[in-house]
Amino acid sequence: MKKIALALAALFALTVPGSAALQVDVNQGNIQPLPIAIPDFIGDPQGANIAKVVRADLERSGLFKPLDPKSYVEQIKSINAAPTFANWRVINAQGLVTGQAQAQSDGRLRVDFRLWDIYGESQMLGLQYFTQPENWRRIAHLISDAIYERITGEKGYFDTRIVFISEGGPAKNRKKKLAVMDEDGANPIFLTRGDYLVLTPRFNPTAQMIAYMSYINGKPRVYLFDLESGRQEMLGNFPNMTFSPRFSPDGNKVAMTLENGGNSDIYVMDLRTRSYTRLTTDPSIDTSPSFSPDGKQICFESDRGGSQQIYVMNADGSNQHRISFGSGKNGTPVWSPRGDMIAFTKQGGGAFHIGVMRPDGSGERVISNGWEDEGPTWAPNGRVLMYSRTLQGGRGSQIWSVDVTGRNERRVITPGDASDPAWSPLIQ
Protein backbone atom coordinates (compact mmCIF):
# COMPACT_ATOMS: atom_id res chain seq x y z
CA MET A 1 0.00 0.00 0.00
CA LYS A 2 2.71 2.37 0.99
CA LYS A 3 4.54 1.63 -2.19
CA ILE A 4 1.53 2.25 -4.29
CA ALA A 5 0.93 5.56 -2.62
CA LEU A 6 4.49 6.55 -3.15
CA ALA A 7 4.35 5.59 -6.78
CA LEU A 8 1.16 7.51 -7.24
CA ALA A 9 2.65 10.48 -5.51
CA ALA A 10 5.70 10.31 -7.66
CA LEU A 11 3.55 10.19 -10.75
CA PHE A 12 1.55 13.07 -9.45
CA ALA A 13 4.67 15.05 -8.68
CA LEU A 14 5.98 14.41 -12.15
CA THR A 15 3.00 16.00 -13.74
CA VAL A 16 3.34 19.13 -11.64
CA PRO A 17 6.51 20.69 -13.00
CA GLY A 18 4.80 20.85 -16.35
CA SER A 19 2.49 23.55 -15.11
CA ALA A 20 4.09 26.87 -14.36
CA ALA A 21 4.96 27.64 -10.77
CA LEU A 22 3.24 30.53 -9.08
CA GLN A 23 5.82 33.27 -8.61
CA VAL A 24 5.69 35.00 -5.25
CA ASP A 25 8.04 37.75 -4.17
CA VAL A 26 8.29 37.95 -0.41
CA ASN A 27 9.51 41.45 0.42
CA GLN A 28 8.31 41.90 3.95
CA GLY A 29 9.09 39.78 6.94
CA ASN A 30 8.45 39.71 10.60
CA ILE A 31 11.67 39.98 12.55
CA GLN A 32 11.35 37.53 15.39
CA PRO A 33 13.87 35.75 17.59
CA LEU A 34 14.38 32.11 16.69
CA PRO A 35 12.59 29.77 19.10
CA ILE A 36 15.20 27.32 20.30
CA ALA A 37 15.11 24.57 22.91
CA ILE A 38 18.21 24.07 25.03
CA PRO A 39 17.64 21.34 27.61
CA ASP A 40 20.14 21.01 30.43
CA PHE A 41 23.17 19.12 29.19
CA ILE A 42 23.22 15.55 30.42
CA GLY A 43 26.01 13.86 32.35
CA ASP A 44 28.06 15.93 34.77
CA PRO A 45 26.01 18.29 36.97
CA GLN A 46 27.91 21.19 35.44
CA GLY A 47 25.96 20.48 32.27
CA ALA A 48 22.89 22.22 33.66
CA ASN A 49 24.92 25.34 34.36
CA ILE A 50 26.42 25.31 30.90
CA ALA A 51 22.99 25.08 29.28
CA LYS A 52 21.80 27.91 31.50
CA VAL A 53 24.61 30.18 30.36
CA VAL A 54 24.00 29.26 26.70
CA ARG A 55 20.31 30.08 27.07
CA ALA A 56 21.14 33.40 28.69
CA ASP A 57 23.72 34.28 26.01
CA LEU A 58 21.40 33.53 23.12
CA GLU A 59 18.46 35.27 24.74
CA ARG A 60 20.53 38.39 25.34
CA SER A 61 21.40 38.62 21.67
CA GLY A 62 17.77 39.25 20.85
CA LEU A 63 18.02 36.88 17.89
CA PHE A 64 16.97 33.78 19.80
CA LYS A 65 14.09 32.91 22.05
CA PRO A 66 15.20 30.04 24.30
CA LEU A 67 12.05 28.16 25.20
CA ASP A 68 11.16 27.43 28.80
CA PRO A 69 12.61 24.02 29.71
CA LYS A 70 9.39 23.26 31.56
CA SER A 71 7.60 23.14 28.23
CA TYR A 72 9.81 20.39 26.80
CA VAL A 73 7.97 17.20 25.95
CA GLU A 74 10.95 15.01 25.27
CA GLN A 75 13.73 14.28 27.68
CA ILE A 76 17.13 13.95 26.07
CA LYS A 77 18.74 10.72 27.19
CA SER A 78 21.62 10.47 24.77
CA ILE A 79 23.22 13.02 22.56
CA ASN A 80 24.20 10.36 20.08
CA ALA A 81 20.63 9.66 19.03
CA ALA A 82 18.58 11.98 16.91
CA PRO A 83 15.77 13.59 18.84
CA THR A 84 12.15 12.92 17.91
CA PHE A 85 11.68 16.08 15.92
CA ALA A 86 7.90 16.04 16.18
CA ASN A 87 8.21 16.36 19.97
CA TRP A 88 10.02 19.64 19.50
CA ARG A 89 7.71 20.91 16.78
CA VAL A 90 4.90 20.58 19.29
CA ILE A 91 6.44 23.33 21.40
CA ASN A 92 7.25 25.37 18.29
CA ALA A 93 10.99 24.99 18.61
CA GLN A 94 12.86 25.59 15.38
CA GLY A 95 16.22 24.66 16.78
CA LEU A 96 17.31 22.23 19.46
CA VAL A 97 20.62 22.02 21.30
CA THR A 98 21.51 18.77 23.00
CA GLY A 99 24.65 18.45 25.01
CA GLN A 100 26.59 16.39 27.44
CA ALA A 101 29.25 17.18 30.01
CA GLN A 102 31.58 14.49 31.32
CA ALA A 103 34.41 14.58 33.82
CA GLN A 104 37.45 12.91 32.28
CA SER A 105 39.88 10.68 34.12
CA ASP A 106 42.56 13.34 33.71
CA GLY A 107 40.39 15.79 35.62
CA ARG A 108 39.30 17.74 32.62
CA LEU A 109 35.77 18.39 31.59
CA ARG A 110 34.57 17.19 28.22
CA VAL A 111 31.57 18.91 26.71
CA ASP A 112 29.79 17.84 23.52
CA PHE A 113 26.85 19.47 21.90
CA ARG A 114 24.75 19.22 18.78
CA LEU A 115 22.52 21.78 17.14
CA TRP A 116 19.48 20.29 15.39
CA ASP A 117 17.25 21.78 12.73
CA ILE A 118 13.76 20.75 13.84
CA TYR A 119 12.02 21.23 10.49
CA GLY A 120 14.91 20.15 8.32
CA GLU A 121 15.30 17.17 10.66
CA SER A 122 19.04 17.26 10.46
CA GLN A 123 22.04 18.12 12.53
CA MET A 124 23.39 21.57 11.81
CA LEU A 125 26.43 21.46 14.01
CA GLY A 126 28.27 19.18 16.40
CA LEU A 127 31.31 20.12 18.47
CA GLN A 128 33.30 18.83 21.37
CA TYR A 129 35.42 20.69 23.89
CA PHE A 130 37.91 19.80 26.60
CA THR A 131 38.85 22.14 29.37
CA GLN A 132 39.65 22.50 33.01
CA PRO A 133 36.37 22.27 34.92
CA GLU A 134 36.65 25.82 36.25
CA ASN A 135 36.50 27.10 32.68
CA TRP A 136 33.01 25.81 32.13
CA ARG A 137 31.63 29.29 31.61
CA ARG A 138 33.98 29.87 28.74
CA ILE A 139 32.91 26.61 27.17
CA ALA A 140 29.33 27.76 27.45
CA HIS A 141 30.20 31.03 25.71
CA LEU A 142 32.07 29.19 22.96
CA ILE A 143 29.03 26.98 22.41
CA SER A 144 26.82 30.08 22.25
CA ASP A 145 29.21 31.58 19.71
CA ALA A 146 29.12 28.44 17.58
CA ILE A 147 25.31 28.31 17.58
CA TYR A 148 25.05 32.00 16.87
CA GLU A 149 27.44 31.73 13.96
CA ARG A 150 25.70 28.73 12.44
CA ILE A 151 22.27 30.36 12.61
CA THR A 152 23.12 33.95 11.70
CA GLY A 153 26.12 33.43 9.46
CA GLU A 154 28.31 35.75 11.47
CA LYS A 155 30.75 35.26 14.30
CA GLY A 156 29.41 35.40 17.81
CA TYR A 157 30.66 37.68 20.56
CA PHE A 158 29.90 35.83 23.77
CA ASP A 159 33.46 34.73 24.47
CA THR A 160 34.57 38.32 24.94
CA ARG A 161 35.18 40.75 27.76
CA ILE A 162 34.28 44.32 28.50
CA VAL A 163 36.61 46.86 30.05
CA PHE A 164 34.71 49.70 31.67
CA ILE A 165 34.66 52.30 34.40
CA SER A 166 32.90 51.23 37.55
CA GLU A 167 31.33 54.20 39.30
CA GLY A 168 30.30 54.88 42.86
CA GLY A 169 30.11 57.59 45.47
CA PRO A 170 28.50 61.03 45.36
CA ALA A 171 27.42 62.52 42.04
CA LYS A 172 29.72 65.53 42.49
CA ASN A 173 32.79 63.47 43.14
CA ARG A 174 32.39 60.07 41.55
CA LYS A 175 34.79 57.35 42.51
CA LYS A 176 35.79 55.70 39.27
CA LYS A 177 37.59 52.39 39.00
CA LEU A 178 38.99 50.57 36.03
CA ALA A 179 37.25 47.22 35.72
CA VAL A 180 36.87 44.26 33.38
CA MET A 181 34.17 41.62 33.19
CA ASP A 182 32.91 38.92 30.88
CA GLU A 183 30.50 39.99 28.19
CA ASP A 184 27.60 38.62 30.21
CA GLY A 185 28.63 40.54 33.33
CA ALA A 186 30.22 37.58 35.05
CA ASN A 187 33.62 37.68 36.73
CA PRO A 188 33.99 41.41 37.30
CA ILE A 189 37.49 42.42 38.39
CA PHE A 190 38.62 45.83 39.56
CA LEU A 191 42.01 46.93 38.33
CA THR A 192 42.23 50.20 40.25
CA ARG A 193 40.92 51.20 43.64
CA GLY A 194 39.25 54.47 42.85
CA ASP A 195 41.81 56.75 44.52
CA TYR A 196 42.07 58.79 41.35
CA LEU A 197 39.90 59.46 38.37
CA VAL A 198 40.12 57.04 35.44
CA LEU A 199 38.32 57.34 32.10
CA THR A 200 37.84 55.86 28.64
CA PRO A 201 39.61 52.48 28.71
CA ARG A 202 40.07 50.56 25.43
CA PHE A 203 41.36 47.07 24.66
CA ASN A 204 44.17 46.34 22.28
CA PRO A 205 43.52 43.71 19.57
CA THR A 206 44.77 40.84 21.72
CA ALA A 207 42.72 41.92 24.75
CA GLN A 208 45.90 41.74 26.83
CA MET A 209 46.48 45.48 27.05
CA ILE A 210 44.26 48.37 28.00
CA ALA A 211 44.89 51.99 27.09
CA TYR A 212 43.05 54.42 29.33
CA MET A 213 43.20 57.87 30.88
CA SER A 214 44.17 58.33 34.49
CA TYR A 215 44.47 61.34 36.81
CA ILE A 216 47.00 59.57 39.01
CA ASN A 217 49.33 62.13 40.68
CA GLY A 218 47.00 64.87 39.53
CA LYS A 219 48.17 64.65 35.94
CA PRO A 220 45.64 63.49 33.38
CA ARG A 221 47.53 61.26 30.99
CA VAL A 222 47.08 58.17 28.85
CA TYR A 223 48.35 54.97 30.44
CA LEU A 224 48.82 51.44 29.25
CA PHE A 225 47.76 48.64 31.54
CA ASP A 226 49.23 45.21 30.78
CA LEU A 227 46.76 42.62 32.03
CA GLU A 228 49.33 39.86 31.97
CA SER A 229 51.91 41.55 34.17
CA GLY A 230 49.67 44.10 35.84
CA ARG A 231 52.20 46.73 34.91
CA GLN A 232 51.08 50.26 34.14
CA GLU A 233 53.01 52.83 32.24
CA MET A 234 52.41 56.37 31.15
CA LEU A 235 52.29 56.54 27.39
CA GLY A 236 54.85 59.14 26.36
CA ASN A 237 56.06 61.99 28.49
CA PHE A 238 54.08 65.02 27.53
CA PRO A 239 53.87 68.26 29.50
CA ASN A 240 50.11 68.52 29.17
CA MET A 241 47.00 66.39 29.15
CA THR A 242 46.81 63.35 26.88
CA PHE A 243 43.48 61.60 26.38
CA SER A 244 41.14 59.62 24.11
CA PRO A 245 43.50 56.72 23.34
CA ARG A 246 42.62 54.01 20.84
CA PHE A 247 44.73 51.19 19.44
CA SER A 248 45.39 50.63 15.77
CA PRO A 249 43.99 47.34 14.42
CA ASP A 250 47.46 45.76 14.45
CA GLY A 251 47.98 46.88 18.03
CA ASN A 252 51.29 48.58 17.24
CA LYS A 253 50.07 52.12 17.52
CA VAL A 254 47.90 54.24 19.72
CA ALA A 255 46.07 57.24 18.38
CA MET A 256 45.31 59.82 21.06
CA THR A 257 44.83 63.50 21.76
CA LEU A 258 47.47 65.86 23.13
CA GLU A 259 46.41 69.13 24.63
CA ASN A 260 48.74 72.08 24.45
CA GLY A 261 47.86 75.62 25.48
CA GLY A 262 44.17 74.79 25.37
CA ASN A 263 44.37 73.34 21.87
CA SER A 264 43.75 69.63 21.34
CA ASP A 265 45.20 67.71 18.41
CA ILE A 266 45.45 64.09 17.37
CA TYR A 267 48.75 62.23 17.41
CA VAL A 268 49.73 58.66 16.70
CA MET A 269 52.34 56.97 18.82
CA ASP A 270 54.26 53.93 17.63
CA LEU A 271 54.44 51.57 20.61
CA ARG A 272 57.66 49.92 19.41
CA THR A 273 59.72 53.04 18.76
CA ARG A 274 57.77 55.41 21.01
CA SER A 275 57.98 57.97 18.28
CA TYR A 276 54.90 60.00 17.60
CA THR A 277 53.40 61.81 14.68
CA ARG A 278 51.05 64.75 14.76
CA LEU A 279 48.04 64.25 12.50
CA THR A 280 45.97 67.40 13.00
CA THR A 281 47.17 70.98 13.30
CA ASP A 282 43.92 72.87 13.35
CA PRO A 283 43.45 75.39 16.20
CA SER A 284 40.12 73.74 16.95
CA ILE A 285 39.34 70.75 19.16
CA ASP A 286 40.39 67.59 17.33
CA THR A 287 39.86 64.44 19.36
CA SER A 288 38.29 60.96 19.67
CA PRO A 289 40.29 59.24 16.91
CA SER A 290 39.34 55.69 15.85
CA PHE A 291 41.04 53.58 13.19
CA SER A 292 39.25 51.84 10.33
CA PRO A 293 39.68 48.05 10.57
CA ASP A 294 42.21 48.08 7.71
CA GLY A 295 44.23 50.68 9.59
CA LYS A 296 44.29 53.00 6.58
CA GLN A 297 41.95 55.67 7.85
CA ILE A 298 41.01 57.38 11.09
CA CYS A 299 37.67 58.92 11.97
CA PHE A 300 37.69 61.65 14.58
CA GLU A 301 35.72 64.64 15.79
CA SER A 302 36.50 68.30 15.35
CA ASP A 303 34.75 71.61 15.92
CA ARG A 304 36.81 73.29 13.20
CA GLY A 305 33.62 73.99 11.24
CA GLY A 306 31.99 75.78 14.17
CA SER A 307 30.44 72.80 15.96
CA GLN A 308 31.53 69.32 16.96
CA GLN A 309 31.28 67.08 13.88
CA ILE A 310 32.76 63.87 12.52
CA TYR A 311 35.66 63.80 10.08
CA VAL A 312 37.69 61.12 8.35
CA MET A 313 41.36 61.31 7.38
CA ASN A 314 44.01 58.97 6.09
CA ALA A 315 46.14 57.37 8.78
CA ASP A 316 48.97 59.77 7.91
CA GLY A 317 46.73 62.78 8.52
CA SER A 318 46.12 63.60 4.87
CA ASN A 319 42.74 64.15 3.23
CA GLN A 320 40.80 65.37 6.27
CA HIS A 321 37.16 65.75 5.39
CA ARG A 322 33.90 66.10 7.21
CA ILE A 323 31.37 63.27 6.93
CA SER A 324 28.57 64.22 9.35
CA PHE A 325 26.10 66.74 7.99
CA GLY A 326 23.00 65.73 9.91
CA SER A 327 21.34 67.83 12.56
CA GLY A 328 22.93 68.78 15.86
CA LYS A 329 26.43 67.98 17.03
CA ASN A 330 28.08 64.65 16.37
CA GLY A 331 31.06 63.18 18.18
CA THR A 332 32.92 60.13 19.51
CA PRO A 333 33.00 58.27 16.20
CA VAL A 334 34.04 54.61 16.39
CA TRP A 335 34.70 52.58 13.30
CA SER A 336 32.95 49.19 13.10
CA PRO A 337 35.22 46.13 13.05
CA ARG A 338 33.34 45.15 9.89
CA GLY A 339 34.29 48.46 8.34
CA ASP A 340 30.82 49.17 7.02
CA MET A 341 29.67 51.62 9.68
CA ILE A 342 30.81 54.34 12.04
CA ALA A 343 28.96 54.61 15.33
CA PHE A 344 28.84 57.98 17.05
CA THR A 345 27.14 60.15 19.62
CA LYS A 346 24.49 62.50 18.30
CA GLN A 347 23.60 65.54 20.37
CA GLY A 348 20.48 67.47 19.66
CA GLY A 349 17.19 68.48 21.18
CA GLY A 350 18.72 68.37 24.63
CA ALA A 351 19.55 64.67 24.43
CA PHE A 352 22.38 62.38 23.37
CA HIS A 353 21.75 59.31 21.25
CA ILE A 354 23.87 56.66 19.63
CA GLY A 355 23.78 56.72 15.85
CA VAL A 356 25.41 54.84 13.02
CA MET A 357 26.33 56.00 9.53
CA ARG A 358 28.38 54.70 6.65
CA PRO A 359 31.97 55.90 6.45
CA ASP A 360 30.96 58.34 3.71
CA GLY A 361 28.40 59.88 6.07
CA SER A 362 25.36 58.43 4.32
CA GLY A 363 22.65 56.24 5.83
CA GLU A 364 22.58 57.91 9.22
CA ARG A 365 20.32 56.19 11.74
CA VAL A 366 19.75 56.80 15.44
CA ILE A 367 19.62 53.51 17.33
CA SER A 368 19.38 54.31 21.04
CA ASN A 369 16.65 55.89 23.13
CA GLY A 370 18.25 57.26 26.28
CA TRP A 371 18.43 60.80 27.52
CA GLU A 372 22.21 60.93 27.56
CA ASP A 373 23.74 58.00 25.64
CA GLU A 374 27.33 58.37 24.52
CA GLY A 375 30.61 56.63 23.75
CA PRO A 376 29.67 53.61 21.60
CA THR A 377 31.81 50.48 21.34
CA TRP A 378 31.34 47.65 18.85
CA ALA A 379 31.10 43.93 19.44
CA PRO A 380 33.86 42.22 17.46
CA ASN A 381 31.34 41.07 14.87
CA GLY A 382 30.16 44.61 14.20
CA ARG A 383 26.62 43.63 14.99
CA VAL A 384 25.98 44.94 18.51
CA LEU A 385 26.97 48.13 20.32
CA MET A 386 27.40 49.04 23.94
CA TYR A 387 27.48 52.58 25.30
CA SER A 388 27.23 54.71 28.44
CA ARG A 389 23.86 55.93 29.53
CA THR A 390 23.82 58.75 32.06
CA LEU A 391 20.55 59.13 33.89
CA GLN A 392 19.00 62.54 34.20
CA GLY A 393 19.67 64.57 37.33
CA GLY A 394 22.85 62.92 38.53
CA ARG A 395 21.16 59.60 39.14
CA GLY A 396 24.15 57.68 37.91
CA SER A 397 25.24 55.91 34.80
CA GLN A 398 24.73 52.51 33.26
CA ILE A 399 25.97 50.48 30.35
CA TRP A 400 23.45 49.56 27.67
CA SER A 401 23.60 47.55 24.49
CA VAL A 402 21.66 47.62 21.25
CA ASP A 403 21.66 45.76 17.97
CA VAL A 404 23.00 47.73 15.03
CA THR A 405 19.49 47.60 13.59
CA GLY A 406 18.24 49.48 16.67
CA ARG A 407 16.50 46.44 18.08
CA ASN A 408 17.02 44.78 21.42
CA GLU A 409 18.13 47.77 23.46
CA ARG A 410 18.83 46.53 26.97
CA ARG A 411 20.85 47.25 30.07
CA VAL A 412 24.12 45.41 30.55
CA ILE A 413 24.60 43.88 33.95
CA THR A 414 27.44 45.59 35.81
CA PRO A 415 28.55 45.67 39.42
CA GLY A 416 26.98 48.98 40.42
CA ASP A 417 27.02 52.04 38.19
CA ALA A 418 29.24 51.91 35.14
CA SER A 419 30.30 53.89 32.10
CA ASP A 420 32.78 53.99 29.20
CA PRO A 421 32.50 50.36 28.05
CA ALA A 422 34.92 48.99 25.48
CA TRP A 423 34.45 45.59 23.92
CA SER A 424 37.35 43.17 23.58
CA PRO A 425 38.01 41.28 20.39
CA LEU A 426 37.15 37.59 20.39
CA ILE A 427 39.45 36.03 22.94
CA GLN A 428 42.05 33.80 21.40
Partner: protein, 175 residues
Protein backbone atom coordinates in the same frame (compact mmCIF):
# COMPACT_ATOMS: atom_id res chain seq x y z
CA UNK B 1 -3.37 68.60 61.76
CA UNK B 2 -0.37 69.28 63.85
CA UNK B 3 1.55 66.86 61.77
CA UNK B 4 0.37 68.62 58.68
CA UNK B 5 1.43 72.03 59.92
CA UNK B 6 4.70 70.48 60.93
CA UNK B 7 5.12 69.25 57.42
CA UNK B 8 4.25 72.67 56.11
CA UNK B 9 6.82 74.25 58.33
CA UNK B 10 9.35 71.78 57.19
CA UNK B 11 8.49 72.46 53.58
CA UNK B 12 8.73 76.17 54.11
CA UNK B 13 12.03 75.81 55.86
CA UNK B 14 13.37 73.62 53.08
CA UNK B 15 12.22 76.09 50.49
CA UNK B 16 13.90 78.91 52.37
CA UNK B 17 17.06 76.93 52.64
CA UNK B 18 16.93 76.06 49.00
CA UNK B 19 16.44 79.69 48.11
CA UNK B 20 19.27 80.72 50.33
CA UNK B 21 21.45 78.09 48.75
CA UNK B 22 20.47 79.27 45.31
CA UNK B 23 21.09 82.91 46.00
CA UNK B 24 24.51 82.14 47.36
CA UNK B 25 25.45 80.43 44.12
CA UNK B 26 27.79 82.44 41.98
CA UNK B 27 25.45 82.75 39.07
CA UNK B 28 26.19 86.41 38.56
CA UNK B 29 29.61 87.73 39.31
CA UNK B 30 28.90 89.76 42.43
CA UNK B 31 31.66 91.66 44.09
CA UNK B 32 32.74 89.33 46.79
CA UNK B 33 31.08 86.00 46.70
CA UNK B 34 31.24 83.15 44.29
CA UNK B 35 32.66 80.63 46.68
CA UNK B 36 31.75 77.10 45.78
CA UNK B 37 29.55 76.24 48.76
CA UNK B 38 30.36 72.56 48.76
CA UNK B 39 33.99 73.19 49.33
CA UNK B 40 33.65 75.77 52.05
CA UNK B 41 31.45 73.43 54.04
CA UNK B 42 34.27 71.53 55.57
CA UNK B 43 35.97 74.57 57.05
CA UNK B 44 34.54 77.05 59.49
CA UNK B 45 31.53 79.12 58.48
CA UNK B 46 32.34 82.15 56.45
CA UNK B 47 33.84 84.74 58.77
CA UNK B 48 36.28 86.95 57.03
CA UNK B 49 37.83 87.82 60.34
CA UNK B 50 39.14 84.31 60.90
CA UNK B 51 40.55 83.89 57.40
CA UNK B 52 44.31 83.91 57.16
CA UNK B 53 45.42 86.38 54.53
CA UNK B 54 47.21 84.64 51.70
CA UNK B 55 45.49 81.33 52.38
CA UNK B 56 43.42 79.21 50.09
CA UNK B 57 40.36 80.31 51.97
CA UNK B 58 41.33 83.93 51.53
CA UNK B 59 41.46 83.41 47.79
CA UNK B 60 38.20 81.54 47.75
CA UNK B 61 36.17 83.79 50.02
CA UNK B 62 37.62 87.26 49.74
CA UNK B 63 38.92 87.24 46.21
CA UNK B 64 36.75 84.73 44.35
CA UNK B 65 38.22 81.65 42.73
CA UNK B 66 35.61 80.87 40.09
CA UNK B 67 34.60 82.26 36.73
CA UNK B 68 31.85 80.96 34.47
CA UNK B 69 31.39 80.31 30.79
CA UNK B 70 28.62 80.18 28.26
CA UNK B 71 27.57 76.86 26.78
CA UNK B 72 30.34 75.39 24.62
CA UNK B 73 32.33 78.63 24.95
CA UNK B 74 35.63 79.48 26.58
CA UNK B 75 35.85 83.26 26.31
CA UNK B 76 36.17 85.10 29.62
CA UNK B 77 32.89 86.86 30.22
CA UNK B 78 32.80 90.58 30.79
CA UNK B 79 31.32 90.11 34.23
CA UNK B 80 34.11 87.79 35.33
CA UNK B 81 36.99 90.09 34.51
CA UNK B 82 36.86 91.76 37.91
CA UNK B 83 37.28 88.38 39.61
CA UNK B 84 40.37 87.63 37.57
CA UNK B 85 41.73 91.13 38.20
CA UNK B 86 41.37 90.54 41.93
CA UNK B 87 43.05 87.16 41.51
CA UNK B 88 45.93 88.80 39.68
CA UNK B 89 46.36 91.44 42.39
CA UNK B 90 46.14 88.82 45.08
CA UNK B 91 48.76 86.67 43.33
CA UNK B 92 50.96 89.76 43.08
CA UNK B 93 50.59 90.25 46.81
CA UNK B 94 51.56 86.65 47.57
CA UNK B 95 54.30 85.93 45.06
CA UNK B 96 55.20 82.50 46.43
CA UNK B 97 51.74 81.11 45.70
CA UNK B 98 51.40 78.73 42.77
CA UNK B 99 48.00 77.85 41.39
CA UNK B 100 46.34 75.34 39.15
CA UNK B 101 43.36 76.44 37.13
CA UNK B 102 40.70 73.80 36.73
CA UNK B 103 38.51 73.81 33.65
CA UNK B 104 35.05 72.25 34.02
CA UNK B 105 32.08 71.66 31.76
CA UNK B 106 28.43 70.86 32.07
CA UNK B 107 27.15 67.43 31.14
CA UNK B 108 25.88 68.46 27.73
CA UNK B 109 29.01 67.46 25.89
CA UNK B 110 30.64 64.13 25.21
CA UNK B 111 33.31 63.01 27.63
CA UNK B 112 36.36 63.51 25.47
CA UNK B 113 35.13 66.70 23.87
CA UNK B 114 34.53 68.11 27.33
CA UNK B 115 38.07 67.25 28.39
CA UNK B 116 39.26 69.34 25.48
CA UNK B 117 36.76 72.11 26.21
CA UNK B 118 37.75 72.18 29.89
CA UNK B 119 41.35 72.57 28.81
CA UNK B 120 40.36 75.52 26.64
CA UNK B 121 38.58 77.17 29.57
CA UNK B 122 41.42 76.64 32.01
CA UNK B 123 43.82 78.00 29.46
CA UNK B 124 41.63 81.04 28.82
CA UNK B 125 41.76 81.87 32.53
CA UNK B 126 45.48 81.31 32.59
CA UNK B 127 46.08 83.58 29.61
CA UNK B 128 43.94 86.28 31.14
CA UNK B 129 45.93 86.17 34.37
CA UNK B 130 49.19 86.23 32.42
CA UNK B 131 47.93 89.26 30.52
CA UNK B 132 47.44 90.90 33.90
CA UNK B 133 51.05 90.26 34.80
CA UNK B 134 51.01 86.92 36.62
CA UNK B 135 54.10 84.91 35.73
CA UNK B 136 53.37 82.04 33.40
CA UNK B 137 55.36 79.62 35.53
CA UNK B 138 53.09 80.07 38.54
CA UNK B 139 50.05 78.90 36.65
CA UNK B 140 49.16 75.36 35.70
CA UNK B 141 46.00 74.08 34.15
CA UNK B 142 44.00 70.91 34.40
CA UNK B 143 40.78 69.88 32.72
CA UNK B 144 38.16 67.79 34.46
CA UNK B 145 35.70 67.85 31.60
CA UNK B 146 32.31 66.99 33.06
CA UNK B 147 33.71 64.72 35.76
CA UNK B 148 33.44 67.08 38.74
CA UNK B 149 30.12 68.92 38.60
CA UNK B 150 29.18 71.48 41.26
CA UNK B 151 25.55 70.74 40.77
CA UNK B 152 23.95 67.57 39.52
CA UNK B 153 20.51 68.55 38.40
CA UNK B 154 19.79 68.45 34.73
CA UNK B 155 18.76 72.08 34.42
CA UNK B 156 20.19 75.17 32.80
CA UNK B 157 20.85 76.89 36.15
CA UNK B 158 22.81 73.85 37.21
CA UNK B 159 24.67 73.60 33.92
CA UNK B 160 25.65 77.26 34.27
CA UNK B 161 27.29 76.57 37.62
CA UNK B 162 29.19 73.65 36.21
CA UNK B 163 30.72 75.54 33.26
CA UNK B 164 33.51 77.10 35.25
CA UNK B 165 37.17 77.82 35.73
CA UNK B 166 38.41 77.45 39.29
CA UNK B 167 41.71 78.79 40.53
CA UNK B 168 43.13 76.49 43.20
CA UNK B 169 46.29 76.88 45.21
CA UNK B 170 48.86 74.15 44.74
CA UNK B 171 51.72 75.61 46.75
CA UNK B 172 53.21 78.52 48.63
CA UNK B 173 50.08 79.62 50.43
CA UNK B 174 49.81 80.77 54.00
CA UNK B 175 47.99 78.38 56.24
Amino acid sequence: MTRFSGLLKFAALSAALALAACSSKPEAPPADNGPPPAQTDNSAPVQSSSIVPGSAEDLRVNVGDTVHFDYDKYEIMEADRSVLQRQASWLAKYPSVRVTIEGHCDERGTREYNLALGARRANAVKEYLVSLGVANGRLETISYGKERPMCTESSESCYAQNRRGVTTITGGASS
